[in-house]
């Protein structure tokens, strides 16, 4: 008998085709299995050591995120609270980042927790991405209010999300949603985006 090989499935496994129905108005894609590490750090004196490990400064302003390229590739660090950050990196770096961050914190008061399984990552872009989000999110996403680098924890269609504004002018967003809410949110996006399915770019 051959063994039944089970492969890992992301929360939105098999949804790519349906989500593609929203293009070209909104390009929605899941980026599965990304590394998400929660970092609690009260001692600001260790921020420099942590930044060195990540190659990115920690965000000092509430509701923002920082990004850069470091020893562990492209990394984003989101502000989640006055002593809480969410480190976002390429898939498979959970253990590497965890131990590197623990080392950087040393004996200072802090915590590093792999929370990759908690949320999945959705990227939204395209000319109607902002409008689509506005159907279910009270946050003002106009570039003058939420410029690039904004990171808010809010509700999208009653579902808790972390929203990162990657490029405000181009309308590029990242939405982190809890794994158990992912299918609900994908269904909601498809429904809220019905009016944009006929959308075609008008040549200027």
């Amino acid at each position: 008998m051959t063994a039944d090989i089970r492969t890992r499935r992301s929360p939105l496994d098999g949804w790519a085709e349906r989500l593609a129905e929203l293009a070209p108005a909104v390009e929605v894609a899941e980026r599965p299995f990304r590394t998400h590490v929660t970092l609690r750090l009260r001692d600001a004196g260790r921020a420099a050591a942590v930044s060195a490990v990540l190659g990115v400064e920690l965000p000092r302003t509430p509701c923002t995120f920082t990004r850069g390229d470091g020893p562990h590739g492209p990394v984003e660090v989101a502000w989640l609270g006055p002593d809480e950050y969410l480190v976002l990196a390429e898939p498979g770096l959970q253990r590497t980042l965890e131990s590197a961050l623990r080392q950087a914190i040393g004996d200072a008061s802090g915590a590093v927790i792999d929370v990759s399984a908690q949320r999945t990552t959705l990227t939204l872009s395209g000319p109607k991405a902002r409008d689509l989000l506005a159907h279910g999110c009270a946050i003002d996403l106009h570039p003058s209010v939420s410029p690039s680098g904004t990171c808010v924890q809010a509700l999208l269609a009653q579902s808790g999300i972390v929203l990162l504004v990657r490029d405000a002018d181009a309308g590029e967003f990242t939405v982190l949603v809890r794994a158990s809410f992912a299918i609900y949110l994908a269904t909601w996006l498809l429904d809220a985006g019905v009016e944009y399915r006929e959308y075609r770019e008008v040549p200027v």
Partner: protein, 92 residues
């Protein structure tokens, strides 16, 4: 919908928040010395003023931090919000 200004995140819709009752109710310094009546007073008894009231709120759908707010119970107007490590501000 009413907006509540979180000390960290700024003005957000009230559905993102959770109410936490009266603020500045401190734990008894010597709990063992309290009589049953005094315990009941600490656990169950809260002020219920008509007017400005210092309350605890949590930004549950946002930064998940507790903070204090002075709210007028007649008008729902928020006179001030402040962090837990800050003194109650003077409001009119």
């Amino acid at each position: 919908m009413q907006l509540i200004p979180c000390p960290w995140c700024g003005p957000r819709e009230e559905v993102e928040f959770h109410y936490g009752g009266q603020a500045h109710v401190s734990y008894p310094a010597d709990p063992a010395a309290l009589s049953d009546e005094e315990w009941a007073r600490f656990v169950f008894f809260r002020d219920n003023p008509r007017g400005p009231f210092a309350e605890r709120w949590s930004h549950t759908a946002g930064c998940r931090r507790w903070f204090n707010a002075v709210r007028d119970t007649r008008s729902y107007e928020l006179h001030a919000v402040y962090r837990l490590d800050e003194e109650r501000p003077v409001t009119t």
